[in-house]
């Protein structure tokens, strides 16, 4: 996979004519969008509009009825399972609403575990984890993550998503359980990620304040995905 600086090759995510339905119920039809490196995209919509299903299709966990998904130039629909898993390991990081961290581990151990699973050797994994925690200004301690506040846990979740230097970050309601002040801190962190780590970020949210922080917002409604806010300059 090449990473040239042309506008086409800068796309980390390309969704084309994607359609999904569950039985008679159509979730979305023929939606298309792309995300470049250094860009942040917010996808908003009512509960049940299909936002999480869209993320599942992008991750390759759900097979769409039609259309294609490309991650950093690689179409995922035809990939065998192992190759798809490798692509997820190398190219995609995920931040969940509740972090979904391992409660018994410290922040460092949560991040290093992910690095190990990503294929790093032990010493490389430890080094990568330390660097990531430092870059995100997360204080390293032996306290288990289960004792951390919501905001602190989400910071660790972001670190975990970034440790393997993915091309694309998917965040599903990352601020859903945070108070306003912590939400703003989290958004400041997330918005710094695309430029700092040369990746794209797709953020699913129902919070209008969160969506306005992103370069671009699209609304998923009645099965269609439409721009709400225009594309801005990358990184701005």
């Amino acid at each position: 996979m090449s990473n040239s600086s042309s506008s086409v090759d800068a796309r980390v995510l390309s969704v084309a004519q994607l359609s999904l339905s569950f039985g008679q119920h159509s979730v979305f039809q023929a939606i298309s969008f792309d995300v470049k490196r250094g860009e942040s995209l917010a996808i908003v919509g009512r509960s049940g509009s299909g936002k999480s299903s869209l993320l599942s299709c992008i991750l390759g966990l759900q097979t769409p009825d039609a259309g294609s998904v490309s991650i950093d130039g690689t179409v995922i629909g035809t990939l065998p399972r192992r190759r798809l898993a490798q692509l997820r390991r190398e190219k995609i990081g995920v931040v969940f609403q509740s972090g979904e961290l391992l409660e018994e581990l410290s922040p460092f151990e949560n991040v290093v575990l992910t690095a190990m699973l990503g294929g790093h050797r032990a010493s490389e994994a430890r080094q990568a984890a330390r660097e990531m925690l430092e870059r995100l200004s997360i204080v390293q301690s032996d306290r288990v993550v289960g004792l951390y506040s919501g905001g602190e846990r989400q910071r660790v979740a972001v670190a975990r998503a970034l440790v393997n230097r993915p091309r694309l970050i998917l965040a599903d309601e990352p601020t859903g359980s945070l108070d306003a002040e912590t939400r703003d801190e989290m958004m400041e962190l997330l918005m710094s990620v695309p430029n700092q780590f040369d990746c794209g970020i797709v953020l699913v949210t129902h919070d209008p304040i969160v969506s306005t922080a992103c370069n671009r917002t699209m609304r998923l409604t009645d099965g269609a995905l439409v721009d709400v806010a225009p594309r801005g300059p990358s990184g701005s």
């Binding site: 997820r88 969940f96 391992l102 190990m116 790093h120 288990v144 004792l147």
Partner: protein, 700 residues
């Protein structure tokens, strides 16, 4: 539900066993004879004897033999007997009759009737009523006692002829039920109540947040735990129903349980099940309440419990040697405390190991070890919960094995020595001289009498000399010369026949004085000396013990108390053997709900940990590390728990075993091997299940 079923079955068993004990006491009293004041008051003559009867299992069993001779036409036969047998005939209980029917000889004469349950201490009792022959009455009838009825006021000393358990002191039976049945079932309920404790904790917080009071929360919890506990109660009710409609003859326990007896206790059984249900509910509610207290993710290591465990273990090893009079009690008390607190000690050890394992996993890049090691380090109480069933099972069942150690080394040695056959049949005192002469002539060729007695001699070590009188032919077989002499016992014991004679008669002096017969034995002199007599085989073949006993029963009231050391040792071994069978059955009944609950615990633990690891496993599509998590999470604590519990089982009874009779409180290496094997197997199965659950979660 499993624990509740266990408690309910315990309740039913408890009611029936205690009822059987009570019935036996009452029946025994009703069978005691009433002494007559004088001859005019007497209704019948009475003599009681204990014999050994070969059973279906090849072992001799104690049988109560009562010799009765009516003195008047109006004398009532004993309870449970319709009419008096004729002289030389007998009436037997069902089990005794079954054993007698297998013999080639009519040991007590023809059996002409069956004693009904009304006339037995317990349904499975071996009891025989014998009417003596005219010869026996003439020879030794004066040894019988005049009685005029049954149901006397005497104290029941020993309950013979039935399985040992309910012949124990009255506190032993309920203690055994509590120890072997109730406690494992209670632990099973506790284990089950600990499942889903996180969900229940969250629900409790939500209820408190919306203003629910203690009563409301109790009702909600009750509504959740009552159905499975009630289902367990139905199991107990089913067991009671089965017992009330069927008779059970359990040969291995040498016990008969009659449906009639169960039906008389139906109400008590239902009441006991109800109490068991309440107990289960209390345990579940209190455990659930405790588990819903807010806890930090990182749990405190149970140092205090672990310390108590170590102290209790030291006490179990050391105190019996300091206070030997209370050795057994001190041992059991310490062992119980050790058993209950051992999971905490193991949790502490595993927490320490967990830190090491996590550090190793971090250093070497093994994600499974990192995760599982840290889990052990921060969740010691969960580890204790996981290992409780295994630890309690091994130590509890280990006490079963220790308590029921059977056929001590001494008995085994004696049996080994006399494996060549019944060469010596030893009897009691010499009976009426004339009868003895007839008896000896009746027992056939290849048999010779040997008489032994003691005479005072203060100069000797034990204060007396041992004498032996027999024919010159027999003396030659015993390795002694045919002249009055003092012979070392070791010389006699050098021959097989001599060794059998020495063991059989219990000679313990270092020398023995030999008196050869000139021609025939001087029975009158032997009787006046109070000599005991034995019969020895002179041609090397086994003596026909049963035939000899039959002849003796024809000639003497109470027979001749003839017996062999093999028989006596086998009978002595029967007592602990029966006890062992009982405690094995009770222990197994108690163990089953505990092991089932252990399985439930493992499955629940697997389910909760699977969800946490699934997301990572799914995203990275790496599942092999889940196997490492499963093995470290499940197999490590179980294996460590099994090994530690086995070591404790082996070393705790060191000093109490040194003071006990040979063969008791002796740990078994076989038990250790089986326990460890089962524990490892459980750990492997649990690990596989955990891995499978995690993989399934990852797939979905």
């Amino acid at each position: 539900m499993i624990g509740s079923a266990g408690l309910s079955v315990v309740a039913v068993v408890g009611v029936l066993v205690m009822g059987a004990v009570s019935d036996r006491q009452a029946q025994s009293r009703s069978l005691l004879p009433i002494a007559a004041e004088d001859a005019t008051d007497a209704e019948f003559l009475y003599a009681f004897d204990l014999d050994l009867l070969p059973g279906a299992d090849g072992n001799p069993h104690l049988v109560s033999v009562v010799w009765l001779e009516p003195l008047t036409n109006s004398a009532q036969p004993p309870p449970g007997v319709l009419s008096w047998p004729r002289p030389g005939q007998a009436v037997a209980s069902p089990v005794a009759q079954r054993d007698l029917n297998r013999l080639a000889v009519d040991l007590y004469g023809p059996i002409v009737g069956t004693i009904s349950p009304r006339g037995l201490e317990a349904p499975g009792e071996r009891r025989i009523y014998v009417r003596p022959t005219a010869s026996a009455l003439e020879n030794t009838g004066d040894e019988m006692t005049m009685m005029n009825g049954f149901g006397g006021p005497g104290v029941v000393q020993g309950l013979w002829g039935v399985p040992t358990l309910d012949a124990q002191a009255s506190w032993v039976t309920p203690a055994a039920l509590i120890f072997f049945l109730f406690s494992p079932a209670a632990v099973a309920v506790w284990l089950g109540a600990g499942v889903d404790r996180e969900r229940r904790r969250r629900r409790e917080l939500q209820l408190v947040a919306i203003g629910a009071g203690v009563r409301h929360r109790m009702i909600v919890n009750l509504a959740e735990v009552w159905p499975p506990i009630a289902a367990g109660g139905l199991v107990g009710g089913g067991a009671l129903g089965v017992m009330a409609t069927n008779n059970f003859d359990v040969g291995w326990l040498d016990t008969i349980v009659l449906a009639d007896a169960t039906r008389t206790r139906l109400l008590a059984g239902v009441g006991a099940i109800t109490i068991a249900q309440i107990a289960a509910l209390l345990i579940a509610l209190l455990t659930g309440r405790r588990n819903t207290q807010r806890k930090d993710t990182a749990e405190a290591i149970p140092f205090r419990s672990a310390q108590v465990c170590v102290v209790a273990a030291i006490a179990a090893i050391w105190l019996p040697s300091i206070f030997p009079a209370y050795g057994t009690l001190l041992y059991y008390a310490s062992a119980v405390v050790t058993t209950v607190t051992l999971p905490s000690l193991i949790a502490m050890i595993v927490a320490g190991l967990g830190r090491v394992i996590a550090a190793t996993g971090l250093k070497r890049g093994w994600p499974g070890m990192l995760l599982a090691g840290r889990r052990h380090a921060v969740s010691p109480r969960r580890t204790a919960w996981l290992t409780s069933s295994v630890v309690v099972s091994i130590l509890l069942f280990g006490q079963v094995q220790l308590w029921a150690s059977t056929l001590g080394g001494l008995v085994q040695r004696d049996l080994g020595q006399l494996s060549s056959g019944d060469l010596v049949v030893s009897g009691g005192h010499v009976h009426d001289s004339g009868a003895s002469d007839i008896f000896l002539k009746s027992v056939g060729k290849g048999t010779a009498p040997v008489f032994t007695w003691l005479e005072d001699n203060r100069t000797r070590q034990f204060g007396f000399d041992t004498y032996i009188a027999t024919s010159c032919t027999t003396l030659a077989l015993l390795g002694a010369s045919c002249m009055p002499s003092e012979v070392p016992v070791a010389t006699l014991a050098a021959t097989g026949l001599g060794a059998s004679l020495v063991n059989s008669t219990g000679i313990f002096t270092e020398t023995i004085n030999v008196e050869p017969f000139e021609s025939e034995p001087d029975y009158e002199r032997m009787e006046s000396l109070g000599a005991d007599f034995s019969l020895v085989s002179t041609d090397g073949s086994s003596l026909p013990v049963l035939e000899i006993q039959r002849v003796g029963n024809q000639l003497f009231v109470g027979g001749t108390n003839l017996d062999t050391i093999v028989n006596r040792n086998k009978a002595a071994g029967n007592v602990p053997r029966q006890l062992q069978h009982w405690v094995l059955v009770l222990g197994t009944l108690g163990l089953i709900p505990l092991l089932l609950a252990a399985g439930v615990v493992l499955v629940a633990d697997s389910r909760s940990s699977a969800r946490e690891t699934a997301i990572l496993a799914a995203h990275f599509d790496r599942r092999r590390w889940l196997a490492g998590v499963a093995l470290t999470r499940i197999l490590l604590p179980l294996a460590l728990g099994g090994i530690t519990a086995s070591l404790f089982y082996f070393f705790l009874p060191i000093s109490v075993g040194a003071q006990a009779s040979e063969g008791f409180f002796k740990p078994s290496t076989s038990y250790v091997a089986v326990s460890l094997s089962l524990t490892i197997a459980l750990g492997l199965v649990g690990s596989w299940w955990s891995y499978r659950s995690s993989k399934a979660w990852a797939t979905t």
